[in-house]
């Protein structure tokens, strides 16, 4: 498996994060077990998996916040085990359920972090104002964080990363606990970061959200990366195909015609006039054409895009694992 990932990594330019046999053990239990991955510059990379699969531990190892038991990881060319300060100077981290000093205002919280970053006073206030504007918290800048909602806190955390002008943003479960509107806003901010060329490492168990922003994902399971690749690649790998198209139409030989569309896998006849087919791309246009060609009447045409959820469900269904959750 690693061979294959290395190959795919080799095709990408300038890996900003490269893990090689990265391992974390507590006693005899391996929480992270010899994982390998490369993250390219500018990429949004998702770390997926159930709670306790080793995502956060992997992140902490990348930041030098926990000891690496074996293997190594390089972040922007630095070894976090030896040069944690260099790494942390360039990498922003938004922890899972980030906390702030409630008795301080947003600006004060950011100022403290900025001081720890070693920024001079003038630079500090300039960057803080800019960052708060970016995350749309400028109007509450002088309010105490105690009054902030969960979404505001997450955005404030993001502002901290912006103040740092991090080359890599590591976001741990950034959208958990957010309402849908806040989630959408937050995901927009992530896209903005990506647009600026920031490499984003995202850990989540909210698969649909990750799916929306991630270029690639790594699927954690019991301390190992079970799968890695783009969502489409994974869906092919797990489900055999990425897209599921359902066609409801009458006409002769529709099933046959549908099966003849290039890229379509098997076609399942659910009823006389209902078919479900799998494809490695969105084949709705071809399906419509096929119905028309059969002189049929198209009543409904729907597509299920490759869903991590589906991949996830399918994967964990296929290979049930008891130890994953217990590893936490």
């Amino acid at each position: 498996m690693s061979e294959q990932q290395n190959n795919s990594a080799a095709t990408r330019p300038a890996a900003v994060i490269a893990a090689r046999d990265l391992t974390k053990r507590y006693g005899k239990t391996s929480v992270v077990d010899a994982i390998n991955f490369d993250i390219a510059k500018g990429e949004v990379f998702g770390l997926l998996g159930p709670n306790g699969a080793g995502k956060t531990t992997t992140i902490l190892m990348m930041l030098g916040l926990t000891e690496i038991s074996a293997g190594r990881v390089s972040v922007l060319g630095f070894d976090p085990a030896r040069q944690p300060l260099q790494v942390k100077r360039r990498v922003g981290y938004l922890p899972d359920a980030v906390g702030f000093y409630d008795h301080l205002t947003a600006v004060e919280n950011l100022a403290y972090a900025a001081k720890l970053m070693g920024l001079a006073m003038a630079e500090r206030s300039r960057r803080i104002a800019a960052a708060l504007t970016r995350v749309r918290l400028l109007d509450v800048a002088e309010k105490r964080v105690a009054t902030f909602s969960r979404g505001m806190r997450q955005r404030l955390g993001l502002a901290e990363i912006i103040v740092k002008r991090a080359e890599i943003a590591i976001l741990d479960e950034p959208t958990s606990g957010l309402d849908p509107q806040a989630t959408i806003e937050f995901l927009d901010l992530i896209r903005e970061l990506k647009a600026e060329g920031v490499t984003v490492l995202l850990s989540s168990h909210m698969l649909d959200q990750v799916q929306r922003v991630c270029d690639r994902v790594a699927l954690f399971r019991a301390g190992k990366i079970a799968m890695m690749g783009s969502v489409a690649e994974l869906s092919v790998q797990v489900l055999g195909a990425g897209f599921v198209v359902e066609v409801e139409a009458d006409g002769a030989g529709i099933a046959r015609r549908l099966a003849a569309i290039p890229g379509v896998g098997n076609v399942e006849t659910l009823a006389d006039d209902r078919f479900r087919m799998t494809a490695d791309r969105d084949v709705r246009a071809d399906a419509a054409r096929a119905v028309v060609a059969a002189n049929g009447a198209l009543r409904r045409l729907s597509v299920d895009e490759p869903s991590l959820e589906a991949i996830y469900a399918h994967y964990f269904q296929a290979t049930p694992s008891g130890g994953v959750r217990d590893a936490a």
């Binding site: 030098g64 916040l65 000891e67 944690p84």
Partner: protein, 392 residues
């Protein structure tokens, strides 16, 4: 029995001695004068009516053979009684040896109501072929001037500046009535003088003396202790009414060593460290007037302390000089920090000087170092922890 005999013998000799002296007087160089003379020192006297006066007379025989002279007094006013006394008894005749004299006394009892006119009494001695007469003019006066004498049995005493010089003075009232004699002593500056009773401590400034009596008083003189050796006269003056008498006593002050002990520059405090020998410089000074020999040094120290002197003995210290001695003091190892009393003494025969030194004991800094060591170990522990667990 035998003792009594001896006493008698002495008494006999005692009587014999004045006789021997008289015979010596008799052997005076020959005079040109020859004959018998009735003599007195004061042929004109003043007496007080109602009193009895004695007038000393002498019947002098110059170069005549011994013979009996009948004695008589003529011109005695009525009411007066004139008695010639010899050897304390009324006599009627005298017999002076050649070139010798017989003392006589004329006792005059003057009645109180006698008229104050001057009287002339004539004392006559009649022998065969020679006679002597002496007119004595007796003036009568209500009062007689007072008369005092003062003398000292031991007018010159020798001693050290620290001794008490005590002189016994005898004051005699030679006048015919009771007097109160007051006395004063003129001594060199800074000498302390005081008069006391002969057998008592009560200080006096005056004393009553009955007529014709004498009294002993004591004069104490204390020279200043810092005085040099020398001879110091003290003039004693006794006054009573218009009479005064003077005598002189003298102090012969011999030199004496006087020791003083102090720290260098007069410091009486010193520092020492517990269980460690420290040196305290001690200066011994002889401020006396004679050299001090064999000065020994000793100390009274708190228990457990060791004090020795370097040198332990000073051979000789002349007056006005000082010498430094090192006291080697080792406080007990159990001494507490703080002040202790340390008495040091210098002794030379009877002369002793001592000083209390206050020694401030410091405890050893060894434990302080050990404490710093403990802190050092704790800091090392911290460094070890930082090296092992630091920078995460």
């Amino acid at each position: 029995m035998r003792a009594l005999d001896v006493a008698r013998l002495v008494a006999t000799f005692g009587l014999a001695v004045p006789l021997a002296i008289s015979s010596v007087h008799a052997a005076e160089p020959p005079h040109d004068i020859k004959g018998l003379y009735m003599m007195t020192d004061y042929p004109a006297v003043t007496v007080r009516p109602g009193t009895t006066s004695n007038i000393s007379l002498r019947l002098q025989n110059y170069d005549l053979g011994p013979q009996r002279y009948k004695l008589s007094v003529e011109g005695v006013p009525s009411g007066w009684t004139a008695t010639l006394l010899g050897g304390g008894q009324p006599v009627a005749a005298a017999m002076p040896a050649p070139d010798s004299s017989v003392p006589l006394q004329l006792r005059l009892d003057v009645p109180a109501n006698a008229s104050l006119a001057e009287q002339t009494l004539t004392v006559k001695a009649e022998g065969q072929g020679s006679e002597a007469t002496l007119p004595i003019v007796v003036a009568l006066a209500k009062e007689l001037p007072a008369k005092l004498t003062v003398s000292s049995k031991l007018p010159e005493l020798r001693g050290s500046p620290k001794s008490n010089f005590e002189y016994t003075l005898t004051i005699k009232n030679d006048s015919g009535r009771n007097l109160v004699a007051s006395f004063a002593a003129a001594a060199p500056q800074n000498f302390e003088t005081s008069f006391t009773e002969a057998y008592g401590t009560q200080e006096l400034s005056s004393i009553p003396i009955d007529a014709g009596q004498s009294k002993d008083i004591k004069l104490k003189v204390r020279p200043p202790s810092a005085i040099d050796a020398g001879h110091f006269p003290v003039k004693v003056t006794v006054n009573a009414e218009d009479a005064s008498a003077q005598t002189e006593v003298a102090l012969d002050v011999a030199g004496q060593p006087q020791l003083q002990l102090s720290g260098r520059d007069g410091l009486l405090s010193a520092r020492a460290v517990a269980a460690q020998q420290s040196t305290i410089p001690v200066v011994v000074t002889n401020s006396g007037t004679a050299p001090a020999d064999n000065i020994e040094l000793a100390a009274t120290a708190p228990s457990g302390w060791k004090v020795t002197f370097q040198p332990a003995k000073i051979e000789r210290l002349v007056p006005g000089k000082d010498t430094e001695v090192q006291a080697l003091v080792t406080p007990s190892d159990k001494s507490l920090a703080g002040d202790y009393q340390l008495a040091m003494r210098a002794t030379s025969r009877g002369e002793t000087a001592s000083s209390q030194f206050r020694v401030t004991v410091s405890t050893s800094t060894v434990w302080g170092m050990a404490g710093a060591g403990v802190i050092g170990v704790a800091l090392l522990l911290m460094l070890g922890a930082v090296a092992r667990f630091g920078r995460r």
